[in-house]
Symmetry: C2
Subunit: 251 residues, 2 copies
């Protein structure tokens, strides 16, 4: 069983080549510091244990956060208290961008496993020298746009696909993201629970469980708790492309 934990070098060398260096302020980043530290409002970062809250819906925007290692879920809470996971995040992702709209975080972010983040104080954006600014702004806009694209795909998933296709599409999406980070495309450990998968896919936990069982029986997956091996990417892709036959499209 392969370990797919994604680790970023904790050296300052990694920081030297970081595209967000101008934003973090260039301080030391004790990713491997001996104790977790409070994150919100602070410029430091450190190993955050599982289920740490990075920011909460309604918080004032102090910093954006660069996820360095581990993984994070972001979710929104409605007036009546129900929650919807809107994204899973992996190293390299910027967290908290949606707060740029109002100055308040419009979602909550919680680590799915031990993780490390770098704080990017939002104010520092205003203080950037003219030479650096354009590049950084463009980078942030691109990051925000990428998140928009992902959310649009999520809506497509929720709106047009049956449970099985949603599930297959999520596995393929995770597969792509791991591959993009140099991990195996076909073998990985899920950092999220069945409950969290179910919530993201907007199906019942039992349905996720049945889907795992079913795809395993059909030799598309090999599953052992949170470890997943994709036995047939083409088969998975075929499943992901089946649409829930909602009569016709819009227009």
């Amino acid at each position: 069983m392969r370990d797919n934990v994604i680790r970023f070098p904790a050296t300052s060398a990694a920081c030297a080549s970081c595209r967000w260096l101008k934003l973090c302020g260039g301080r030391a980043h004790p990713v491997s510091a001996d104790r977790p530290q409070a994150v919100n409002g602070s410029a430091v970062c450190g190993p955050l244990p599982r289920r740490s809250n990075i920011f909460h819906q309604g918080d004032v925007l102090g910093s954006l956060y660069l996820l360095r290692s581990g993984s994070v879920k972001t979710y929104v809470t409605s007036a009546d208290g129900c929650e919807q996971i809107v994204a899973f995040h992996f190293p390299g992702d910027i967290l908290g961008l949606d707060a740029a709209a109002t100055g308040f975080h419009e979602s909550s972010a919680v680590t799915l496993e031990t993780s490390a983040v770098c704080s990017l104080p939002y104010q520092r954006l205003q203080q950037l020298g003219a030479d650096d600014a354009g590049e950084v702004w463009a980078g942030l806009l691109a990051a925000a746009a990428q998140q928009t694209v992902n959310k649009q795909q999520h809506a497509l998933l929720l709106g047009q696909k049956c449970a099985q296709a949603r599930f297959a599409a999520l596995l393929l999406h995770l597969s792509d993201r791991f591959a993009a980070r140099g991990c195996s495309r076909t073998e990985f450990n899920l950092s999220m629970s069945r409950q969290e998968l179910a919530n993201y896919l907007a199906v019942a936990v039992e349905t996720v469980s049945r889907l795992f069982t079913d795809l395993q029986r059909r030799r598309v997956l090999k599953v052992e708790r949170r470890f997943v091996r994709i036995l047939s990417l083409p088969a998975l892709a075929r499943l992901a492309n089946q649409e829930r036959a909602l009569e016709a499209s819009h227009g």
Copy 2:
């Protein structure tokens, strides 16, 4: 029956106070020009008839577009050809921001009625003077963030709410947007068809039809084709807050 068409002044005075003036290049904006003009790749804008394509998924990012009057739907198309409307847009909205991720439009935009847009050439962002740049970048990032927030709410809707609650929430959202633009909060004409409403809400057209009928019978709405009068905002809000009892949340 009130007319809720939102009109932006076509005078240069309106342009003078436009926050995006630096981006459009300050040319004349013939909103009331005598003929529609091709939009994509062009810096001009003009009255676009209903169902005009502003950009299409896969197009190279040439310009962002400021919607000046009318309304627009944006939608994504999946590999297997099915489409999901991801947003409805109204005057003041920036269109095409998701293209900032890859340099290619990741969604398509089509007018729902006669509309006018201003072209904001994306290249011009790089050419901005240092004094102006920060403000414009921050504005664009805020706009992108707002769209992210809206998409998160959309996901919450699709994931956690029953058909009736989705429908009520959409009406309230439209109501808010009209009110924010100085139009009536309780009376408006929908610029989208039942089919388009259904697609956005991810329900069947028949369901939308039944919902209109039902809410009318319950004296929450008065509907006459595309004209809607909200008879009870509180009742609508109550309906919007009912959750589809998916057992427990994530975590």
